[in-house]
Symmetry: C2
Subunit: 434 residues, 2 copies
């Protein structure tokens, strides 16, 4: 980055209230990671160039676009969960971003306020606000939380003392009554968005926004399904990073770039070109979300010779697998359809949540996974407990499983590496036995 670009970025960040010195440390850390992890991969698709650029300028170009939008009276709405419907936000003329939540960087500061026995994603989300290190958070006119887990639900109450925060209730059982309850919550959220932006949400603006958002979902569906090929045409690390970028990038540009990448991957699949040799152990990762830059598990697996072929995660299939299908021609029906779309997500916040175990078994077959890693963020009660059911169900289905619980630090890297190597060896033995 040129000196001029850096100075202009710093002006942007300072204007948003970002702590420049702290942010500078964060950004330098991210750049080191990207050089060590992403750039060290071999045989990457050429069309990763766009995403590499975004990654190396994560808080630059996109933040400039957002500030430009805000300067023209537009608003920014930030959230932390796939249960916040991006299309509702767009329909109110605002920009929506998923907020920083994946770095260990702000965790120590967060622990000065929040209980230490809280999952790292929650501590990171809150910590970013506390130390003013995330320009997306600082630029947000409204932070939107939800009640998908106790830790987040209660953290948002504390966060509200630091930044305007609105919370959407997600029901806990998956029945028809609760689809109505969630539709009512989204109707309240619509009113809040109209207040925040000063714009009315119309049937047309919502229709247009839903089309854009679901076009992004379809692009991600296409990207993921290309990974079913053996050899996989793209690494798990790259797809995870793309999915993460999708939470902050412009929705239309992102879909376009993903589709361009998919065109290249189509050719690769046709020509049998992969990122790892045909026959490399194929792993599906299922569980707690991995926010940017939580790339540790993917990197460890792929450095050890495996390829990650699918993420059953909010930063994965749970994000994009469902589309809205209004049953009538009115704004109310559209809101109901969006509520149904989100209530279809097999998140561990629901009870019971049989669908998720079924999804993992189905996806493991579709993606020809040799094994599954059940990933839980430390202190994440919902996914950790679902691991019990997952273990039982996968054993019955004959799919090898490794359960991993981790925070954002690298204290356990040695032990984790050993467990992963043993798991991959097991997968190799099983494959050899056929």
């Amino acid at each position: 980055m040129s000196k001029e670009d850096k100075a202009s970025n710093e002006e942007l960040w300072a204007g948003l209230g970002v702590d420049i010195a702290v942010h500078d440390q964060l950004i330098r850390g991210l750049a080191v990671l990207e050089r060590r992890l992403h750039r060290k991969q071999n045989n990457r698709p050429l069309k990763m160039d766009y995403f590499n650029e975004v990654l190396s300028d994560l808080h630059g170009h996109r933040i400039a676009e957002i500030v430009e939008h805000k300067n023209q009276g537009g608003k920014l709405v930030g959230s932390y969960c796939v249960f916040i419907p991006e299309d509702l936000v767009l329909a109110a003329g605002a920009i929506h971003v998923g907020l920083c939540a994946g770095s260990d960087f702000p965790v120590q500061d967060a622990e000065k306020v929040l209980p230490r026995n809280t999952c790292p994603l929650i501590k990171s989300s809150f910590g970013y606000k506390l130390i003013k290190a995330c320009p997306y958070t600082e630029a947000s006119d409204l932070l939107v939380g939800e009640t998908t887990c106790d830790g987040k639900k209660k953290m948002f109450e504390v966060l509200a003392d630091y930044h305007p925060t609105y919370v959407i209730e997600v029901p806990q059982k998956k029945n028809t009554r609760n689809q109505g309850v969630f539709a009512a919550e989204l109707t309240d959220f619509k009113v809040q968005l109209e207040q925040t932006t000063g714009n009315q949400i119309s049937q047309e603006s919502l229709q247009e926004a839903t089309a854009k958002v679901e076009n992004k979902f379809k692009a991600l569906q296409r990207l993921f399904s290309l990974r079913q090929a053996d050899p996989a045409p793209i690494s798990g690390l790259d797809v995870l990073t793309i999915t993460q970028i999708g939470f902050q990038d412009d929705v239309e540009r992102f879909a376009l770039r993903v589709n361009e990448l998919c065109d290249e991957l189509d050719d690769r699949v046709r020509d049998g070109i992969g990122v790892a040799p045909k026959g490399a152990p194929r792993v599906l990762i299922s569980g707690s979300p991995m926010s940017l830059p939580n790339w540790r598990l993917h990197t460890m697996l792929e450095k050890a010779g495996a390829v990650v072929v699918c993420e059953e995660s909010c930063i994965g299939t749970r994000l994009f697998s469902y589309l809205s299908e209004p049953e009538g021609d009115s704004l109310e029906e559209q809101l109901k359809a969006i509520a149904r779309r989100h209530m279809s997500i097999n998140c561990a916040c629901f009870t019971p949540n049989h669908g998720r175990v079924e999804d993992v078994i189905r996806l493991a077959k579709e993606y020809k996974a040799d094994g599954v890693i059940h990933y839980t963020l430390q202190f994440c009660h919902t996914f950790n407990n679902e691991g019990v059911k997952m273990e039982k169900a996968l054993a019955e289905a004959g799919i090898p499983l490794l359960r991993v619980e981790a925070d954002y630090s690298s204290d356990d890297s040695g032990q984790l590496k050993t467990r992963i190597e043993a798991f991959l060896e097991l997968l190799g033995d099983i494959r050899g036995a056929y």
Copy 2:
């Protein structure tokens, strides 16, 4: 206990499927605790005799009553939370009990299945079922769970593999819409109870049951308010134990015995007789529930010369502070009133939950507490996070606060004792300064 009584009890327990050898260890442990803690107290009210008897025969006489009820075709419904309306269960002709959840005894076994990073109350509840050590659990025709926290919500899914389990959804925001949602959940629960018992719930049977249950609540309200006197006429340990017993005892007999005790306490208050000298440091405990035999904090405080004057807890004021007030004369209105009664509880499961902080400040004044201990079970996200708000609000109100996070083991007893002594010294210094 005579040899004959012991043999007859063992026959009862074995008939329920209890593991006699394991249960014997548990019961012997409880008896040791009761001798060491309850019996070592001085100057106790005479009318504690009934509760002492119950305590020393915890799984005897009451279980015999329940087995007799079951032998005559009656049913037993067990639950783990104040959001399960006991009156609905009674109206269906069943007995309701709160289930064993307060002992460290089954925790190690529970950890073989559940994640270790789960609160001890949840591990204990599940562990009792796993090792078949709780006759109340074994005798239950239906276990009723709820969604008040992630750990329980997901544990109940696992528990359902071991015992018939039904889950009631408790909404997460405290608005009028959610009162309706909870009333609908209770209507579903009514249908389930009618299936389980084969009895219909009528307006009359529910009215009668509500009167009985709320008579118990009023007896506990009376008992608690007597503790506002200085000197306190009864120890915190005794009141906590009584409240715990109230979850398993016959509802009418319990109310009668509590009122008899209150008559004696009336005299004590009039005569200035207390369990600790007038002027002893008075402590209010607020936070996660303390199930029987979780007596550690009370014992430590009272052995150190303090007196616990109130529990803002599910085993305390949150249980009994609200009464149902139907707005019309129908079963539907009664169910709505019961839903409103429970949605009035200021549980940390709600967001936001400003009422609880307000309650603690009000109760601290009413009970003339010199300080508050905010008690959180380890890994309990909801109460632990609310501790952040509580700390801020009590500091503003000038009420000294000590935050304690603990599991059921006694590993931290030395450290906890030191912190408690320092806190009591602080309370003494503050009092001395006036």
